[in-house]
């Protein structure tokens, strides 16, 4: 047990060292080269602002996190459902897949101002919609690929047991697809946070993190803006980390999971 902990610590040590080094260089570099605060504040000032402005900053972060989470859940759920449907009916799949893949390359964030027109820009629904649309396609495309990756031999084996399509789906296709789904969910978790924040840059409630960062930057409160960015990063990592955690609990059979 201790040996495992030691090994873990050993694996993390280089990353930790680099992190400390970068922060140290940042802090020291600013003092050394007299960098103006509006260009780049010191990390220590950012952290101080992060705590001193907590009464406005933290609730704003929570507000935006809920938007991202709502969009993530809605978009991913729809993506998985769509992939399930398309995977079930091959003709639907061949008709929609090229469109889905093309749509995946569209910079959906460009639609953000349009979503503000469609939905009330001050309501969180407009940001959830952007986050949901961002999440939808990668989740759908990857889930579909996963469902179609089932081994033909495994399906043949199930046929030899006179298994129904539903049973093949449940016992072969879904377990095969799960690692693909989680890969997509990890990407989607990052996209959801980007969607919510960038959506808010185009306007939103004053209680939202993106609006706060944007307005602070405009009135030269750069340290506060940076503190907002720090919070946004932490929330993004939290969402991503939660997906990784769920993945570890669900997909336990891979060699990597066994060694971890």
């Amino acid at each position: 047990m201790t040996a495992r902990l030691m090994r873990k610590a050993g694996e993390w040590a280089p990353a930790l060292a680099v992190f400390v080094l970068v922060i140290g260089a940042w802090e020291g570099g600013i003092a050394l080269f007299h960098v103006q605060q509006f260009l780049l504040p010191r990390p220590s000032d950012i952290v101080r602002a992060f705590f001193s402005d907590r009464h406005t900053l933290w609730p704003a972060g929570w507000y935006t996190f809920k938007e991202a989470l709502g969009g993530f859940v809605a978009g991913s759920t729809l993506g998985i459902l769509a992939a399930t449907f398309v995977g079930r009916f091959k003709s639907v799949g061949t008709a929609f897949m090229p469109i889905a893949i093309a749509a995946n390359a569209v910079p959906i964030i460009a639609f953000a101002p349009i979503f503000d027109v469609w939905f009330n820009p001050l309501s969180p629904v407009s940001k959830m919609a952007i986050a949901a649309v961002l999440c939808f396609l990668p989740v759908m495309v990857n889930t579909l690929r996963g469902l179609q990756s089932a081994s033909p031999r495994q399906i043949e084996l199930m046929r030899s047991y006179a298994a129904s399509e539903l049973e093949i789906w449940r016992r072969v296709r879904v377990p095969t697809a799960l690692p693909y789904v989680f890969t997509a969910l990890k990407v989607a978790s990052v996209l959801a946070m980007i969607g919510a924040i960038v959506g808010e840059y185009f306007g939103g409630a004053f209680t939202a993190l993106g609006v706060l960062i944007n307005s602070d930057a405009q009135i030269f409160h750069f340290v506060t803006a940076w503190a907002g960015i720090l919070l946004a990063s932490m929330l993004g990592l939290t969402l991503y980390g939660s997906v990784v955690l769920v993945e570890r609990l669900v997909v336990r059979w891979t060699p990597a999971a066994g060694e971890a």
Partner: protein
Amino acid sequence: MSAAQQSVVSIEGVTKTFPHGNVTALQDIDLELEPGEFVSLIGPSGCGKSTLLRVIGDLIQPTSGTVTVNGKPAHKARVDHDYGIVFQDAVLFDWRTVAKNIALPLEMLGWDRERRNARVAEMMELVELKGFGDHHPWQLSGGMQQRASIARALAFEPALLLMDEPFGALDEMTRERLNLELLSIWERLASTVVFVTHSISEAVFLSTRVVVMSPRPGRIAGVVEIDLPSPRGVETREAPRFFELVTEVRELLRKRGEHLFPEEELL
């Protein structure tokens, strides 16, 4: 009982053509398998031996002809779980432990947990995988994986075992050991086996009958009765009669005028 007398597998006039490329994989195949027989199908790639195995298992529909398994149409036999199948790859499910993999067909049959566990324990003992039940497939060697897949195929005691080059991907030493293990399992369970292989020596060593097939179109070129004494062991492979039979099978294969086994071990 008349059921004991009837053939386990009865193939009558089976032809299979694949519309793509207009390939005749099988042409006019007639074959009867008696209970307790161990029949090998041998032939070069493209002779339709794997197709024939799948036709017996109702995994491929013949273009014409009929297949009867245990006195019923092949489809009914599949629905009734009358056969177990083993492929060249173990085809274990990564997300299941070894024990759960073996239990899969039992789950499909609706056995309750207690009965499943008892049978799985029995099967793991039979294939010498005791103590590996909680392992995942990737933690086992190729030979152990294939033993698990044999245990899975036999778990529900099917009257018929279909094996599609089950040891083809294993090294020679492991293959010979598993040959011996398979024979002892077969002798204990008294089931009927259809065994597809590329290897002449493996076919002769294991079988009561070897069906030699030739390609394009896939046909039965001849049948060799294997009269080696039972039980067979390491010394069987060194007996003069063994070499005679190997030669006989090889001659049948060669009679088709092609050197189809450049890589085949010539003993």
